[in-house]
């Protein structure tokens, strides 16, 4: 197998014959379809470097196939690690200049409005940022690349940034993965700029589950910064309706109930449908639950008549995980503050023996 792979490597040099290049890439693409195939491929650093170099190939089908190979490879955790740790200068094929590292390279294409491989590059970046032991390294890489997170969000939220048909939806999961890091979160939550606000409209973006899920994931992660809760719930960001709207259906409420709801949720039309993906619904509920940590925010959320939305959601919800999340949130909201007796739910210490019991009960429910 190794011999044949080395043969393939010869054919994918930048200067190689077009038809041979194409066939070789086809084979490699085939190999990337299996774990064992990938395991073999990543033993050859030169091959990985070549693939990165081929992204720049002037013949579009070549660049495209190469990008697809890298998408599959990067989806594998071990392989992703290899890609990031790649020692490019020493593993560069002869007679061509070494390409930039993988992070810089994919960013280059993502930011190029004329690049036809921008979407696969987003997918590669999304894959690279997913493993928990890798995303901090990628963040370092992004910071060194000279491109800021602000610019990434800008490119992501612009109406038609890429002019040749790429939609950059996979920057959603990229952001969601990156927001697992505190420094990225604090960057997104910059009070003096307009960063998180740009993401808000996409919680209702019907055209792409990937984009929508990525944005909701990012917002949910941001809700773990309790210091920013007040600001997030304030008029400056007004995040509450963004979480509630996808959870609301077309149920009619009377005058009184409508008036208390946030503006976005008043008098919803007949054709309003709920978020269809249960995982996204869970994330929305988790975000809301986080925002309820502090007492005055709990009261604020309660006063906005959040309960009626959750009540209707609970009647409609069929997914067990989402039901549990909904019930937990409702629990917090309908309880009287004296009962809760704590200003910040996050500071309560749960005794060890109870912790185990709660965990067991949740697991039972989910069965």
């Amino acid at each position: 197998m190794t011999d044949s792979v080395e043969e393939l490597i010869k054919f994918i040099q930048i200067g190689a014959r077009l038809d041979l290049k194409a066939v070789a890439l086809e084979h490699i693409l085939g190999l990337t379809g299996s774990e064992s195939g990938i395991a073999t491929l990543i033993q050859h650093q030169i091959l990985l470097v070549s693939l990165i170099a081929l992204l720049d190939d002037s013949h579009f089908p070549t660049a495209k196939d190469s990008s697809l190979c890298l998408v599959n490879i990067s989806a594998n955790e071990k392989a992703a690690e290899r890609l990031i740790d790649l020692e490019i200068p020493t593993n560069c094929p002869p007679l061509q200049s070494p390409p930039d590292n993988i992070v810089n390279t994919v960013l280059k294409f993502i930011f190029d409005p004329e690049s036809k491989i921008a979407d696969p590059c987003c997918m590669i970046l999304s894959n690279l940022t997913r493993p928990s032991h890798l995303f901090e390294t990628v963040i370092d890489g992004i910071q060194k690349s000279g491109k800021s997170f602000d610019e990434i969000i800008s490119v992501f939220t612009k109406k038609q940034y890429n002019r040749v048909g790429a939609n950059l939806h996979y920057l959603g999961p990229v952001l969601s993965n990156l927001s697992q890091s505190g420094r990225v979160r604090r960057y997104i939550l910059d009070k003096n700029k307009c960063v998180v606000q740009r993401l808000l409209p996409f919680t209702e973006y019907r055209e792409s589950l990937v984009r929508r899920g990525g944005v909701v994931g990012t917002l949910k992660n941001c809700c773990f910064e309790s210091d920013f809760h007040d600001w997030l719930l304030s008029e400056e960001v007004d995040i509450l309706p963004r979480f509630l709207l996808p959870l609301a259906g077309n149920e009619e409420f009377d005058e009184e109930d409508n008036d208390k709801l946030p503006l976005d949720l008043q008098y919803l039309p007949d054709n309003k449908i709920r978020e269809e993906d249960p995982d996204i619904r869970c994330m929305l509920l988790e975000g809301l639950t986080q925002l309820c940590s502090k007492r005055h925010n709990r009261e604020f959320i309660r006063d906005k008549n959040t309960y009626v939305i959750l009540r209707e959601l609970h009647k409609w919800e069929k997914d067990r995980k989402a039901l549990l999340a909904c019930e937990n949130l409702v629990d917090i909201l309908i309880r009287v503050e004296e009962e809760i007796g704590a200003d910040n739910l996050k500071e309560i210490e749960v005794p060890e023996h109870l912790h185990e019991g709660f965990k067991k009960a949740d697991e039972e429910f989910l069965k």
Binding site: S154, N192, K193, C194, R198, D238, E255, L263, D264, Q266
Partner: protein
Amino acid sequence: MNNSTPKNPMSEVERLELASKLDQELDEFINTLPKRQQEAPIPFDRWEEEIANHPFFMKEAPEPGDQLHPLYEGLQKLKYDPDENEPEELATAYKDDGNFNFKHKKYRMAIISYTEGINIKCGNVDIDASLSSLIDAEAALKLKPDYDKVLVRAANCCFKVENYEKAVEFCDRILERNKDDKETLALRKNSINQAKIKERDRRRRAVAANKLKKEEETIVEEIIKRGIKIEGGRENLTLSKLEPQFPELFNSRVSIGGNGGLVWPVILFYPEYKIMDYIQQFDEQNTFMEQLLHVFSDYPEWDEEKKYKAEKLNVYFENGQRENVKVDVNQTLLEILKLDSYIVREGTPKFIVLVANSKVEKLFLESS
């Protein structure tokens, strides 16, 4: 410029003199005002009725067509008079009315109010000026797309003409280069908020309109269910074909009452005196006798000979062949309307009322 001589402060005597002089002048002035007629004191048994009609003690809003207490009319005039109110106040008054009516489920009135409010030309000079500024700005931006000053102008103009989406777009263009520009951030936030209000208002109107439509469809359904004959036929029956043509009943088109039944506008015609009674709401479940007892609880003003008492009256209607058919007053309106011989014209059932066995009745029946 300085005042040369300071005035001496007034003495007590002078002060009192001035006061009495002013009093006198005031009295003289009041005497020149036209005298108001002393109204006859209201008899005690009508006191309750009078109070119920007083704007301050009304329990229910007057229906259109009701006779209004002069104070109420005055208040109305004040509220809706375009000379007394700034256009903004007027538009707000209509908007508030709309909200009030919506709350009380009077959807038709709500829509009328909202529409009036929108139609009030604010004559807002600002908007006209903003639009032309906006056109200038767009032209300038075509030449120099990153001209910040013009972008700010454009964003503000968009806000003024309520094009909030575009306002946000312009803000974003500015923020691309000036990421922490406080004014632009504020404008962006305000635009988004105003857009939410506008959207909410639009949705609310849509809900009202929808409810109205459903109500109307239900009414037509109920009429057809009952098999009531309508002039022009029941095919393609719409509510517009049931609009009363008499001004007194303009706002009393057939509707659904509290108990789910139909409530009709009805006309009673008295050939003897060539007078009509306009009944705005005759519940189909009420019998004619009940309605007559109500209408004739007192002798009407035109009943010079005090003959018209409910038990002494006969009621007739004209059928398709122009013949007069006698009504059994113990039947309900619904039972009469369902009769094969009864046809509802112009959405308003009409009936003829005569004193039983009177000369007038005899003449009337013979002539038709």
